[in-house]
């Protein structure tokens, strides 16, 4: 059996998984910000601030404008939600993404 082909098929299978969970359309900067937000989220539904996400290693290297564009885009895509009870700059990673 050709193990490289099995690996290729596994990668294709998991790329479909990415698309099905809604990650496939993200740019590299959006992915960095989403993973940074996920990383600083301690527990399910926890509110994180824009500064916390910005200070994470994955997001700290992004230009200011790129970071804010990525953040806005993630909110637009529904992957991040604006936290209730706060005026701005507080976010929650969508619960079903965290639980996966």
């Amino acid at each position: 059996m050709d193990k490289l082909s099995a690996l290729f098929e596994l990668r294709c299978m998991l790329r479909e998984m990415e698309a099905d969970v809604g990650l496939d359309a993200l740019t590299a900067a959006e992915m960095d910000v989403l993973l940074a937000a996920h990383s600083v989220t301690g527990e399910l539904g926890e509110v994180v601030t824009s500064e916390q996400i910005r200070q994470h290693d994955l997001a700290s290297g992004l230009a200011q404008a790129t970071y804010h564009r990525a953040l806005r885009s993630l909110v637009g895509l529904g992957l991040l939600e604006k936290a209730r009870g706060y005026k701005a700059r507080h976010y929650v990673v969508r619960a079903d993404l965290v639980s996966q």
Partner: protein
Amino acid sequence: MGFLTFLIVTLAYVFCHGLTALAVTPAQRMFLPDETIFASLIYLPHGVRVLATWAFGWRAIPALLLGSSVAAWLFTPAAEFDFLEPVLLESIFAGAIAAFVAFELARLVGLDLYYGRSKRLSWKGMIAIGAVASVINSVAQTFIFSGLIGLDQLLKVLFIYAVGDLVGLVVCMVALMFIFRWSRLNGEIDR
């Protein structure tokens, strides 16, 4: 299956078992102390079992047997090892063949889902076959451990085995999804 692939499957199993033993088990022991000796709520090596069996069929079994034997020897505390020793070989064997039995059952009903066959397996299909394998493993393990477990614990252990294997497979696939994604995105950035 070449020697290198055999080694990769074996090491992947040992690594995932180690991660489970060092990260998941201590946390689980705090709220399920009696059942934790038998089963884990997130058993990552089930992902290795299912993916290796999908790719290599029965040829994955020797690597899984070796991986689970080495992992049990390395990561099971001495007191638990002595307690489980009378049934350890049966338990290791049941775990190593559970995914193979699930794929063979699917083949019996006309679904040949191994890699390279006519029907391509989707990620949802992989999780479904992993779920069947987890049920087979949990029933077998509960039967094997029935002499060591009280009747009141038996159902709980059966449930933990089934859930732990399935969650372990899902976690493995999500982790691989992110690893492949990162390698792809980094490749795109490098270009």
